[in-house]
């Protein structure tokens, strides 16, 4: 992250040559030197293989197997399951399903709104934090509390606040509105509640990332802006924000990936309701796989979600890079 930010502000200097025995150049050419290089490579692979195999077992294999399942006619039998034949039926069923389209729409909407709000509020919080003196450490610690909470625990806490019988927020709104609100029981308010919880929980993450970016902006840039007579707003829009753009891109990327996979909040707060109003793609995939026991379609929901979110991230990076290039040329 620092490298991305600093590349825009600090001129690159050639990296110093590494010290110690590793600086010894590897002899080039054939014969014994080539054999030695191969031997070293084999030794390297040997030592790296446990880690590589572990990574393959816990990440690559499940992902690939999930993709295989999404294209397979899976039959559960006494003694296990069997993959009978290749089929595209699961994707046809998923893509033509109104439930999937609704879940996709909700997930897109939730991601767009929460990421935007978190970016705005996180940046604002980071600007305030940067100007704090000795208190910054304490404020930072308090700010990080929501982020440090386990998602399910946070969702459960908010669930108590929204509870229709004894919830603190329900009581508060009842005093203001004059009637008992049904916060999690109506689609609009349930979605709003979920956005509030996610923003409360994740804004600190964006704030910390942006703060790191702010602290890397060299002071002389601001001095130059001041000499040129730029005001606070102009400095923010013309100096701070462009300098923050790379680190913000990383924060947004992380947040898109997380928000698109939203599961725990609707699972704890609404179970996807009212109706199916807050049913995200992850919840739909879970229900298809573990409630309906439909392995093929569940895997297809998971795979389509992964493909869509990867596509969104690539698109975002492309747009960001284009803008950065244009900014650089300007």
């Amino acid at each position: 992250m620092n490298a991305v930010t600093s590349s825009a502000t600090v001129p690159r200097s050639p990296a110093p040559p590494p010290a110690g025995p590793r600086t010894r150049p590897v002899p080039r050419g054939g014969g014994p030197a080539r054999v030695s290089r191969r031997k070293r490579a084999r030794t390297g692979w040997f030592f790296a293989s446990p880690a590589l195999l572990t990574i393959a077992a816990v990440t690559v294999f499940p992902v690939l197997f999930s993709v295989v399942l999404s294209f397979a006619d899976v039959r559960l039998e006494y003694g296990g399951f069997r993959l009978l034949s290749l089929t595209g039926d699961h994707y046809a069923a998923v893509l033509s399903s109104p439930e999937w389209r609704h879940a996709l729409l909700f997930t897109f909407g939730f991601t767009a709104v929460t990421v935007l709000l978190e970016l705005v509020l996180g940046t604002a919080a980071a600007l305030v934090l940067e100007r704090l003196g000795a208190a910054r450490g304490w404020v930072l610690a308090v700010l990080l509390l929501p982020w440090a909470l386990i998602n399910v625990v946070a969702a459960q806490l908010w669930g108590y606040l929204f509870n229709g019988t004894y919830g603190g927020l329900t009581w508060l709104f009842e005093q203001i509105l004059g009637h008992q609100p049904d916060i999690l029981g109506q689609p609009a308010s349930a979605m709003g509640a979920m956005v509030v919880v996610d923003v409360w929980k994740t804004t600190p993450f964006v704030a910390i990332v942006v703060l790191a970016g702010l602290m890397l902006i060299p002071g002389d840039v601001y001095e130059a802006a001041e000499i040129d007579g730029a005001g606070a707003w102009t400095t923010f829009w013309k100096v701070t924000l462009p300098q923050l753009r790379p680190i913000m891109a990383i924060a947004v990327l992380f947040r898109i990936l997380q928000a698109f996979g939203i599961f725990d909040l609707p699972f704890v707060l609404t179970q996807g309701g009212p109706g199916t109003a807050t049913e995200s793609l992850a919840i739909l995939g879970y229900k298809t796989l573990f409630q309906n026991l439909d392995i093929g379609r569940g895997a297809a929901v998971a795979t389509t979600s992964a493909v869509i979110v990867i596509g969104c991230c690539l698109l975002f990076l492309r747009v960001f890079r284009t803008q950065a290039d244009e900014g650089g040329r300007a």
Binding site: G79, R82, W100, G185, K287
Partner: protein, 441 residues
């Protein structure tokens, strides 16, 4: 590089073949042969069991295990603690079973699971291992939900029956009888609410979950409106179904039920009732223990319990959804004979008497409910269980979760005022048809 690619491809194909054919099916006949005999050699079974509500302290599952081990000294049973929620439980146990894990040997599962688990080979069909008159001692509704296409996939353990809980003190104060119809309940609740004696009239469960499907099943049975016909096709339609949906709407429209009921599961409605906020509560039999417990209930000693009301007219009264938990046998168990013996023991008289004396649930065996011990326990849900008309949810399909979702989604919409009863019935009918065709997610 080409060699490496070929090696990788060959390795991948070998691994793929292993994954797809290494899990080949086992013939059912050989499994049933193994299951027919209790082994004489020592064996340890694993029983997947969630916490059984205890009436007086001891861990009920342990009492049953000890009783079984006394009968079969060479067999041991080890508990595997399951999750407390039905859906969480299903997700966890199916992950193990689909991977052909030999444990748990026996698992306690919801009465809605048999068709789905049977269709997916996750439970052993045990009908050939049972005497012909086996089910004559258990409720007929329990038999219906345990079967799928003539095969029995679950052995009875305990049932969850629903009742109407009411505030005796408030009815006495207003000189009102316990309502026998929903119309009467609406009038009674409104009167007590208007007098300011209770915030809520009738508390029930309408969150988007299986809890709401149970409530809908009961309201539909009150109105004599079936969800599926005998051939398993969708039958939900007509004035009966609309009457049931209209009642749910009327509860919230009139303020007898709080609008927040659309987020209520059992615990939420029970908390509101034991907190003294409601006049009536629909809940399972276990709620009696909590309502009567002074340490958790503000209304302990002031609560009565009766079978649920029905609609005005000739319709049925005392309808209860046939809920509960049964034991399933894992077809991949290494100890099938012992597993079947344990599941049958749990359904037998000795284990059922343990449930009667120590558990806050209703034993599945009809006979024990009429024993003097049942009266001595002092739980009216036990002594009144025989008065109930148990109705099965539309579980005769492996697509039951989708059917249930179609029901609870629309019932939630009508209760929350987002659809009219007629719209909700039409939409539920269409969604159930899609579900039965295997097209719903």
């Amino acid at each position: 590089m080409a060699l490496r690619r070929r090696t990788l491809l060959a390795g991948g194909l070998a691994a793929g073949a292993g994954l797809t054919s290494g899990c080949a099916g086992k013939p059912l006949d050989s499994l049933l042969t193994q299951a027919a005999h209790v082994p004489r050699t020592p064996a340890t079974l694993v029983w997947w069991v969630s916490e059984i509500p205890s009436r007086n302290g001891p861990v009920v599952a342990d009492l049953i295990i000890r009783a079984f081990e006394r009968r079969h000294p060479h067999l041991r049973v080890r508990k595997s603690n399951a999750l407390s929620t039905t859906d969480g439980n299903r997700a966890a146990v199916t992950t193990q079973l689909a991977g052909a894990s030999p444990t748990p040997d026996v698992y306690l599962g919801d009465t809605t699971w048999p068709a789905q688990f049977g269709a997916n080979s996750l439970a052993l069909p045990v009908q050939t291992l049972l005497p012909k008159d086996y089910w004559s001692d258990y409720p007929a509704a329990l038999r219906r939900v345990s079967e799928y296409r003539g095969a029995v996939y679950a052995l009875p353990f305990f049932t969850d029956n629903s009742f109407l809980y009411y505030r005796k003190d408030l009815l006495a104060k207003h000189g009102l009888p316990v309502p026998r119809t929903w119309e009467e309940l609406l009038r009674t609740a409104r009167r007590i609410q208007r007098a300011g004696d209770a915030a809520y009239g009738f508390l029930w469960q309408a969150s988007v979950s299986e809890s709401l499907t149970c409530n809908v099943t009961e309201f539909l049975a009150d109105a004599q409106a079936p969800v599926l016909d005998d051939a398993g096709r969708v039958a939900l339609s007509g004035p009966g179904a609309e009457r049931a949906f209209a009642l749910m709407r009327e509860f919230t429209e009139t303020g007898v039920t709080p609008r927040t009921v659309t987020t209520y599961a059992e615990a939420d409605s029970q908390d509101a009732f034991t907190g003294g906020r409601g006049v009536f509560l629909r809940n399972w039999s276990y709620a009696w223990g909590n309502a009567a417990d002074r340490s958790v209930s503000k209304v302990a000693g002031r609560v009565g319990v009766v079978p649920r009301p029905g609609f005005d007219g000739d319709g049925p009264r005392g309808v209860s959804c046939a809920g509960g938990w049964s034991n399933f046998v894992n077809p991949n168990s290494q100890h099938l004979g012992a597993a079947v013996a344990f599941a049958r023991f749990c359904a037998g008289e000795e284990a059922q008497m343990i449930l009667l004396k120590h558990a806050g649930v209703i034993p599945a065996l009809d006979d024990v409910l009429t024993r003097p011990e049942a009266r001595r326990v002092g739980d009216p849900t036990l002594t009144r269980a025989k008065e109930l008309r148990l109705v099965a949810r539309p579980v005769q399909t492996p697509y039951y979760p989708q059917v249930s979702k179609a029901l609870y989604t629309q019932a939630n919409a009508v209760t929350g005022g987002r659809a009219t009863p007629a719209q909700a019935v039409r939409a539920a009918r269409a969604d159930i048809r899609t579900a039965l065709e295997g097209r719903a997610l």
